[in-house]
Assembly symmetry: C2
Homo-oligomer: 350 residues x 2
């Protein structure tokens, strides 16, 4: 056993190939062949080695084998997202895990919290661990610094946000179109004073969502009142405050588009505390787990995180399997889920 070696190191009872070889009465190389299921080994020896391995509870040391192996693969991938405790990131992580586990690959996760310096720290840490590939929703807006590692053979698949200054695969939602369709929906119910509430403008998807809103308004020849557009909203309380002011103002919006989950929740609270839930229309981006239980139920533009993750994981593993075809950009459709809150007509149309 390892703890009896000459160096006297006390790493505990991890049996090594050497230990298994000694017990089975074969060479270390034969153990290696059996462990790696090489077909050329005599079946008697295979049986003896397997027995010895079982008796010693042998578990191969993957880092050691990765170190020596030509491909250097660690059977580890990194999934780095905005915040693994939020439902969107968590669902992506879990869905990637599902694809990874079926290939015996383990997933190490990380959250950027929209902090580009944390992105640098975490990607560097993953590099030191020599992960085989990355699925990443970056916080920064310049990803050129990853080019070296990419050239070294580590594939990157971007999710939710496109790569900038880097040629890499990506899987994105059709945020802009989704918001355009939702805004048209509100316009169809007679709304003209529509308020748009958005997340940090530094985030690619936030930008896309405001743009989608502006697209639909322009298309309908409705002027956007700048007082109704509020960006860089990150928390529910912040959104609640802003929406409260809007609703209490002389010329309030008749409809609201909430560009993000927490913002939607804050807006709903402001509306509810004023008992306006049946008078002011609201549509949110990203589905909420209990949206159907509210009164009225909440209409949303739902993304498809499971599908985004599955596409991304499939692309990543295809690259790891040697696919060298040109970079792809996959767009996953978002869907307007009509539930009631978005179908309240404008005052003039009632």
């Amino acid at each position: 056993m390892a703890e009896e070696t000459v160096t006297g190191r006390a790493v505990g009872p991890w049996a090594t190939m050497k230990d298994v070889a000694a017990l089975a009465g074969v060479s270390l190389k034969t153990v290696s062949r059996v462990v790696n299921n090489e077909p050329t080994v005599n079946e008697d020896l295979v049986a003896r080695v397997r027995l010895a391995a079982t008796q010693l509870h042998y578990q191969p040391n993957m880092s050691a084998s990765a170190l020596r192996r030509l491909d250097g693969r660690s059977s580890t991938i990194a999934v780095l997202l905005e915040d693994l405790s939020n439902p969107f990131s968590a669902t992506i992580y879990r869905s990637v895990e599902e694809v990874a586990i079926s290939r015996g690959v383990v997933v190490v996760g990380g959250s950027f919290d929209e902090d580009p310096s944390r992105e640098l720290v975490l990607t560097a840490a993953m590099s030191r661990h020599r992960v085989d590939g990355f699925i990443i929703a970056p916080a920064s807006r310049d990803h050129g610094y990853l080019a070296r590692e990419q050239r070294a053979g580590t594939p990157f698949v971007f999710v939710d946000r496109p790569p900038v200054n880097l040629e890499a695969d990506s899987v994105l939602s059709d945020s802009r179109d989704g918001v355009t369709r939702a805004t048209r929906h509100l316009l169809r119910f007679g709304h003209r004073r529509i308020s748009f509430l958005g997340d940090l403008t530094t985030i690619y998807t936030s930008e896309e969502r405001v743009n989608g809103f502006r697209d639909a308004m322009r298309e309908a020849n409705v002027t956007v009142d700048p007082r109704l557009v509020h960006l860089d909203l990150r928390t529910a309380p912040a959104a609640e405050r802003v929406v409260g002011h809007l609703l209490d103002s002389a010329d309030p919006p008749s409809a609201i588009f909430a560009g993000q989950n927490l913002v939607l929740m804050g807006a709903l609270r402001a509306i509810r505390s004023r008992h306006l839930q049946h008078r002011v229309a609201i549509v949110g981006f990203d589905d909420l787990i209990m949206a159907d239980l509210l009164e009225p139920a909440v209409t949303v533009v739902a993304q498809n995180p499971e599908r985004i993750a599955r596409e991304a994981a499939t692309m990543l593993f295809r690259r790891l399997d040697g696919d060298t075809s040109p970079v792809r950009r996959v767009v996953v459709e978002s869907q307007l889920v009509i539930r009631g809150s978005g179908e309240i007509p404008a005052p003039g149309d009632r």
Copy 2:
């Protein structure tokens, strides 16, 4: 650079210590000293090595250093939970990540989905990766198989569920007490026909929750009608069906305790579709993100996943730092959050 070595292997431009040493004109050992911040190196050499490392974008290979180092530490821990896409697991993962990142440790995650065989597969995979420690919410009910690895020096901290046939640290919610307090709360509002809906009886916490319910009923000398107790409910639709039957029956419950998140959602749907939300009291276990926005808002027994995770991570790292004190079992208090749905009085008391 690595790709120019004699073996001709094409692992890409990962610079090695040898490369840095050559560029800096020092020995490999000196590079090792600088990389590991050993204080005994001449400052001129330090500067030269750092410059060379920067020029080559050198990133140390952690698996290689772990392989040789006496402690064998990989700077990786495993966080294995029920399902990383559910809010409880996701919050635990994220909070552990926070503690880990501050120590330069990377977190690999996994979901068991209540499948004991998946637990075996994932823990074995983590062993092959030689993770330094485990934070685990097991699916199985016998953890003796982990004893060997534990003796090898890998610490285990159990969360949400206690270790069985294994001496290990654990951090648990006071589920049983929490449910007892919530049931007393319903009893205080005059309820006698209280329905209990629970998750898989194989899960430790599910068992605790029913027990907590029975404790409170016994204490109040109220006989539990077995027709009102439904266990092994896993999904919202299943719970919706069961609660529908109960509400439509001749002698329906006046109050419901939902022992789990999805079950709570199903129960709420059944109640709402019958317009009984202001007549039938309901309390759930685990907080819901929008519980305050429902009508009436939902009273719950809230756990504290952030605190559970922080305690667990702190204990794990303390063990990794050499703490050999006796095994500890930490209990984190759950809290009854009163919002309205649990304060609807029984018919006789109205």
